[in-house]
């Protein structure tokens, strides 16, 4: 977004003989010391600022990381000396403002805000003192934070991180971080989370280890395809890349001091892969469970070697901000788990305590913000994976509407690494909903024949892939342009057009206003031999090419599925309770499952804290624990209905029966604590005796499975 500059500023700086001034404020924590680079008509400060090294900012258009770096200021020794003697200035705040001789102080524009890092006196004629200042963004790298965020828009998380990192609220442009702002109308439904649910360690924990605030913010900017900027008031703000935005200027030969082209086929990306849903440490190789790829086949073909069919230029992204957004999908009608999902179903049920972590379900509850919902232009995507009967199925569905079942709510309780009580509770979140879906998206095949299947939110990966493929499929050339300071109000992230006959690239002989360029670098140099601003511009046009999509699962899941099908608690209990996980009644309709450990035969998963749950009256509630993730699910059926199919990769550890007012019984006998059942042992013992008598060699103590499968777990 361009800087908002006062009319007097614009008039003073854009004329043929501008008398530009820098104004620097050093805040020592108590007082502000101000110096300027030249006399001003409307205010008086020491003219003791001798030099400002070029102030530059640069944006990586693919990852959206913004770098501003450092600035070195040079002051008269005579002015700064007494201030330096009286105050420790390292670590203190500096603001650099730009204006002109006739501009009032209030209308000077902040060009840089930062922290003093180094102070170096230089003897000479005259003696000067150099002050090196790091920008706010660099400072964020020195601040490490921990935290959990559940069911938040990425913008909300960025603002939270800035605050946790110590950025004063006065330096944050809160409006730009508000997902309800009209600028974000097509992405306000996006939702991210970083947090481990208490008692149910998820695919990944929250940010438990102190992590650079800047690193976390960069991850979120990458998701959103936007970047942090500093506005004219020195505040940190967010700016979203929007190729449809109007250009803020058309630079012609009147504006351009020089122009230079870089490689014309740079930055080609014709495949984007987004890895998400990462397993926690120690589980299944710590892999990303969901791996979504999008291909621009037009580009792959266009760049292929003669005789070859394609050439791939891939960009990969990895994100842990979607780890929590998974659950189970059921048929759209009937109690979850009772009906079979049909290939033509346009309605599905999604049930999970992590429901608010899904895009379109942010803050799913009685007070869900309207901007958090799906709407025209705001859809969600789920990747369904799993299946039974020996058949692995995967499908991408588009979700166009979500209807929450308001009867089913649950407290979301999760670990807080900053809290001594170890929990944060989000009350009354909806945990069940009905989805209106379009099936078999992107060339996938509709799932059918199962009563439930795992679902992962891939709305953000699709968004990330779309934004990169559509921009970089044909490459994104770069040009370097210099202008004078009359173009100062343009900022990194803004779009401009260039009218210039000398340009050449594929499909373009000269440039006109029909081609937009994104400013990815801005370097201002007032005190050099030629005062100028040096801009780096990257092609900003987008086009929707021919696309193909690919979803790949983590390697271990394939093996797990095969093993599950053949060994699912039939011959041997593949999943056992190693300890704990005992369900009991607390009072009324409230039940409790104690902490414990579940094993899948190869690895153990801890449920570290007790889980409490209020069951629905007049229901049989089956308590399921995932042997892969430790997730606890409560599957309800009407009293005396058959036991429902357990969620994928989960086993029941208890059945809680309730009447109209309270829990009447808790059956823990379905909790399996041994790999081989007693009946099997009894049968085997007969067989063993027979073996000993050498009368029947067909009996064996345990199923004689392939050793290799055992070793894989």
């Amino acid at each position: 977004m361009t800087l908002s500059l006062h009319a007097t500023w614009v008039a003073a700086v854009t004329r043929a003989n501008p008398e530009i001034r820098y104004l620097v404020e050093i805040n020592d924590g108590t007082n502000t010391h101000t110096a300027i680079s030249g006399l001003c008509d409307n205010f008086v400060y020491p003219v003791s600022l001798r030099d400002v090294t070029p102030v530059s900012s640069e944006l990586d258009p693919i990852t959206r990381q913004t770098q501003i770096g450092s600035v070195t200021l040079e002051f008269e020794d005579l002015w700064l000396r007494s201030i330096l003697v009286a105050n420790r200035l390292k670590g203190k705040k500096v603001s650099i403002k730009l204006g002109a001789k006739e501009v009032s102080e209030a209308n000077f524009v902040t060009t840089f805000t930062g922290i003093i890092e180094k102070i170096i006196p230089r003897a000479g004629n005259p003696p000067v003192i150099q002050v090196q200042v790091l920008d706010t963004f660099s400072w964020l790298k020195t601040h490490k934070i921990t935290g959990v965020w559940f069911s938040k828009h990425p913008l909300e998380v960025i603002e939270s991180i800035l605050t946790r990192a110590g950025v004063p609220s006065s330096l944050i442009d809160s409006t730009s971080f508000d997902p309800s702002d009209s600028a974000y109308s097509t992405i306000s439904h996006l939702t991210v989370s970083r947090g481990g649910l208490r008692g149910s360690p998820q695919f990944s924990e929250g940010v438990n280890d102190p992590t650079e605030a800047r690193e976390l913010i960069d991850q979120l900017c990458e998701l959103l395809n936007g970047q942090l900027i500093v506005n004219e008031s020195g505040q940190v703000a967010f700016s979203l890349f929007d190729s449809t935005a109007a250009s803020v200027a058309d630079w012609t030969t009147d504006h351009i001091l020089s122009i230079e082209q870089e490689e014309i086929d740079a930055n080609v990306i014709n495949r984007v892969t987004v890895h998400s849903a990462k397993r926690p440490d120690g589980q299944h190789g710590n892999e990303f469970q969901v791996n979504y790829s999008q291909n621009d086949t037009d580009s792959q073909s266009a760049y292929s070697y003669p005789g070859e069919s394609d050439r791939i230029y891939e960009q990969e992204f990895k994100t842990e901000w979607l780890n929590v957004a998974h659950g189970n999908v059921y048929a759209g009608t009937g109690a979850p788990g009772t009906n079979t999902i049909g290939a033509a179903d346009t309605s599905l049920q999604l049930c999970t305590y992590q429901l608010p972590a899904f895009s379109g379900c942010r803050q799913a509850g009685p007070s869900q913000p309207s901007d958090a919902t799906l709407a025209s232009g705001r859809v969600a995507y789920l990747q369904l994976m799993g299946g039974g009967a020996g058949t692995y199925q995967t499908e991408i569905v588009k979700v166009t509407a979500i209807s929450f079942n308001t009867a089913y709510k649950g407290d979301i309780i999760y670990r807080d690494p900053d809290s001594t009580t170890d929990t944060i509770t989000e009350p009354d979140g909806y945990i069940r909903c009905t989805l209106t879906v379009q099936r078999a998206q992107f060339g996938t095949t509709a799932v059918s024949g199962v009563k439930t299947i795992a679902a992962f939110d891939i709305t953000v990966p699709v968004y990330m892939a779309d934004s990169r493929i559509e921009r970089f499929g044909g490459g994104a050339p770069v040009v370097i342009v210099t202008t004078n300071f009359s173009e100062y109000d343009k900022q990194v992230g803004d779009l401009v057009t260039i009218t210039y006959d000398g340009y050449v690239s594929y499909g373009r002989d000269g440039l006109t206003t029909s081609t937009k360029w994104e400013i990815i670098s801005k370097e201002e140099d007032l005190f050099g031999s030629t005062p100028q601003i040096r801009w780096k511009l990257m092609f900003a046009g987008t086009a929707v090419p021919t696309k193909t999509h690919l979803v790949r699962r983590a390697a271990n899941d394939h093996i797990g599925a095969q093993m599950k099908d053949s060994l699912k608690n039939t011959d041997v209990n593949r999943s056992i309770v190693a300890n704990g996980l005992v369900a009991s009644k607390v009072t009324g309709l409230q039940a409790k499952l104690t902490a414990g450990t579940i094993s899948n035969g190869a690895t153990r998963t801890d449920i570290e804290s007790d889980v409490t749950h209020t069951v629905t009256a007049s229901k049989d509630t089956y308590v399921a624990v995932s042997r892969l993730t430790g997730a606890v699910a409560f599957v309800e059926v009407d009293n005396d209905d058959p036991e429902p199919t357990a969620p994928d990769d989960s086993d029941y550890v208890a059945k809680v029966v309730s009447d109209g007012t309270e829990i009447t019984s808790v059956d823990t006998s379905i909790r399996k604590t041994t790999a081989v059942s007693g009946a099997k042992l009894l049968e085997s013992s007969t067989g063993f005796a027979q073996l000993q008598r050498k009368t029947d060699f067909s009996k064996s103590l345990v199923p004689n499975h392939d050793f290799g499968m055992w070793s894989r777990g």
């Binding site: 043929a16 003989n17 020491p46 009147d254 300071f485 050099g528």
Partner: protein, 307 residues
């Protein structure tokens, strides 16, 4: 030691009347022992200098670094203990002030033998006064005098112990001053040799030119006086004058100096100059020597920019 006074020499005054240039690098404030802003006008009172705006700025050779008191008042004093200054004083110049912004000020310069500047003490005398009105332009007084001097001629004061600047207005105000010079003139006998450019001005610009030829000039400063003045003194008095001026007054060319083109016609049109720190004084005749003063005007308050 008490202050004393004498007429500025008749020859000097006559040359001044003929608008021969004056140069001066001596500033009695360099001898100051104690300096402070005061509400009471006496060294017996408290120092009210605003922290961060030290008094030393009043005589540091810069006009843009100001000193000021820490509170507004209807009468403000700037006190100097000159420790019976070794430097004589025959003019006072004030630059980089805000008197015009304040408006309605009366500014007076006073000397005294007592640190209290007691009016009852006969040594306390007003030697100059100004009414700047609404102007922030530089001030100067080349004809110092006090009541009871017994002479109408400009006076030269010696061994002045205490000096103060007094500023008054009916309403409270906070003055700011960039530079004060309590100077001792060196009256030159002749104007510089021809060719002599007393109008030489320069500006600092950096130029950019677009592809289509649009030129933009970034102005860093403008209207700076550049001085290159040649002299050929042959009398001992004037040869010694240049040498003393360079070595003693200007501390071998390291201190700024005042240059006045026409001290009689336009005394206020004086420049604060920065000298090339080199003294070349070759003999060019039996008694004649050649000396070139090369200097640039001290910024940022250039005379050419004043009204």
């Amino acid at each position: 030691m008490a202050w004393s006074t004498a007429d500025v020499g008749a020859t000097e005054l006559a040359l001044m009347a003929l608008d021969k240039p004056i140069i001066s690098a001596a500033n009695a404030l360099y001898d100051a022992d104690a300096v402070e802003w005061s509400a009471a006008g006496s060294f017996a009172g408290a120092d009210i200098t605003l922290s961060g705006y030290p008094i030393a700025r009043a005589y540091d050779g810069h006009t843009h670094l100001q000193t000021k008191p820490n509170a507004a008042a209807t009468t403000q004093y700037l006190l100097f203990n000159l420790d019976s200054a070794a430097t004589d004083i025959d003019f006072i110049a004030i630059m980089g002030h805000n008197f015009g912004t304040i408006g309605g000020l009366t500014v007076t310069a006073e000397i005294s033998d007592v640190s209290t500047f007691s009016g009852a003490d006969p040594s306390t005398k007003e030697i100059a006064s100004w009414s700047p009105g609404s102007s922030n332009d530089r001030l100067i007084e080349l004809e110092l005098n006090h009541s009871g001097s017994g002479s109408s001629n400009a006076q030269r004061y010696s061994t002045v112990p205490y000096f103060r600047l007094k500023m008054t207005k009916v309403s409270s105000f906070t003055p700011a001053i960039g530079e004060i010079i309590l100077g001792r003139r060196r009256q030159l006998k002749h104007a510089p040799n021809m060719p002599w450019d007393d109008k030489n001005l320069s500006s600092e610009v950096r130029r950019t030119t677009s592809v289509s030829g649009v030129v933009t000039q970034y102005v860093f400063h403008k209207g700076r006086r550049e001085l290159e003045a040649n002299f050929n003194p042959h009398e001992v008095t004037y040869k010694d004058q240049f040498e003393t001026w360079f070595k003693s007054d200007a501390a071998f060319g390291t201190r700024p100096f005042i240059w006045i083109d026409e001290p009689s016609t336009s005394p206020e049109a004086y420049h604060l100059m920065v000298l090339e720190p080199e003294f070349q004084f070759p003999g060019v005749g039996p008694h004649e020597r050649n000396y070139k003063i090369k200097a640039v005007e001290q910024g940022p308050h250039f005379l050419a920019l004043e009204s």
